[in-house]
Symmetry: C2
Subunit: 205 residues, 2 copies
DNA sequence: ACCTGAACACCGTTCAAGT
DNA sequence: ACCTGAACACCGTTCAAGT
C-alpha cells in the first residue's frame, strides 16, 4: 500500500521513535526506527536527510527540554541550584547524549534564554556581568560533571580494589549503598561553590 | 607471505594504532587499523577478541596515563589542583573517551592509587576520611565537567544569539577570544572550591 | 507526495585454508 | 602460530519504480 491517504510518517514521529529507542536501548539504527514505525528503512529518507539529521533534531529537543525546566523567580542561590539540578537530571536521563549536548550548547534554542535569565538574576543580586558569566559557566561545569558522575558505577571505589586498610577503606565502607555517592558529591560541590561566591557581590575583582 | 618469522602484529601494536587513529580522526574502524598496520582486517582477531576488546585496552591505558600524572608531594591545595588539572588535560585530549573513562573509573588500574594518595594527603592535612572522599569526588566532577567544557565551542555564547543588549552582551564582548573561556571557568571553579573546603579541616560535620 | 525493493559501499566478525 | 580470502549479517544511503 504505497501512498496512503494519511502519511504514516512525519519528521516528528521519526524523532520521537528514535529518542524512545535511545532511551530504552542506549542507541538506535535507521532500521530499528523503521521497524518501530512499521515502515521500510528507505521510507525515512522522505522526511529526514539521514541519521545525523535525526541526531540534530534530538539534540535540539533535549536543549529545549533543558531550558524549559528553569525557574528564575527565586533568589540567586536557589536559582543557581535549581538550574544546576535540572540540568544534571536532564543530562543524566541521556548519558549517551551528554557529550553531544555539550558540544553545541547555545546557538540553537532555549539554552541561551536560560543563561540570560540566570544572568539577570545574578546581576540584580549584585554580581557584575563578568562575574555572573563565570558563575554560570561554573554551574554548567558542575551540572555536566555531575551528570557523568551519576552514570558511573555506584561504588566508585569497589571493595575489591580498596582492601581493608588505608584511609579509604573505612570511609568507603561507612557509606550507604545505592546511588548515594554521586548525589552526595554533587550536592556538596554545588553548595560549597554557591556559598563561596556569595562574597563576590558588590566587590571589586 | 603468511606466517612471517617475526609477527607483524601484536596486541600492543594494535592498540597503539587504534589510539593514534582515535586521536587523529576521532574514531577508528577495524579496517582502518588493519590498513595502518598493513594487514588484512581478519588478522587482528589473532591478537584481540574484537573491537570492544581494543576499546577496553585503550581505556585501560588512558587510566594508567591519568594515574601517573599525579604528584602528591605538595600541600593539600596544590595536590588537589594538580590532580584536577592533570585529569582535565588528559581527558580533554580524548573528548570522545570521557564518557567511556568515567564509566569505569576505578576497578582497573592506577586510578585507585591516585585516590589513595590524595586521601592520604587530605587526612594528613586535617580532613576526616569521609570528607576527604567527598572532596576527591568533587574534584573528579570538576575535572570531568571541565574537560567536556573544554571541548565545547570557544564562544559558548556566540554573538549571533546574544544580540547587542542584555546583561550578557557586554560581558561576553569584553572577553578574549580563543579557548580562554573554558580555562577561566575551570580555574575559577577549582579555586573557589578548594578555598571553600579549607575551613572543613579539624571541625565536626 | 510518499512508500517500496533492489542495490551499493561499508562495517565487524567467523572460519577454513594456507605456511 | 599467525596471516589470508571468502563469506555472513548488518549498517546507512540512493534511486528508479510504483501509486
Amino acid at each position: 500500500m504505497p501512498r496512503p491517504t494519511t502519511p504514516k510518517l512525519s519528521r516528528e514521529r521519526i524523532v520521537d521513535a528514535a529518542l524512545a529507542l535511545y532511551e530504552a536501548e542506549g542507541n538506535f539504527t535507521i532500521g530499528s526506527v523503521a521497524r518501530e514505525l512499521e515502515v521500510r528503512p528507505s521510507s525515512l529518507y522522505n522526511h529526514v536527510s539521514g541519521k545525523s539529521d535525526i541526531l540534530d533534531a534530538i539534540r535540539q529537543r533535549l536543549h529545549d527540554d533543558l531550558a524549559s525546566k528553569v525557574n528564575v523567580d527565586a533568589d540567586w542561590q536557589d536559582a543557581l541550584c535549581a538550574v544546576a539540578r535540572a540540568q544534571r537530571d536532564a543530562l543524566a536521563r541521556y548519558p549517551w547524549a551528554i557529550t553531544m549536548l555539550a558540544q553545541s550548547p547555545a546557538q540553537l534554542d532555549g539554552a541561551i534564554t536560560t543563561v540570560e535569565n540566570l544572568a539577570t538574576v545574578l546581576v540584580r543580586s549584585g554580581f557584575t556581568a563578568d562575574r555572573a558569566l563565570l558563575v554560570i559557566g561554573a554551574i554548567d561545569v558542575i551540572a555536566i560533571g555531575g551528570a557523568i558522575d551519576l552514570t558511573s558505577p555506584d561504588e566508585l571505589f569497589p571493595e575489591s580494589v580498596i582492601g581493608d586498610a588505608g584511609e579509604l577503606a573505612h570511609a568507603v565502607r561507612r557509606r550507604g549503598a545505592t546511588g548515594a555517592r554521586a548525589n552526595d558529591t554533587f550536592e556538596f560541590l554545588l553548595n560549597q561553590f554557591v556559598q563561596s561566591v556569595a562574597p563576590m557581590r558588590h566587590t571589586k575583582l
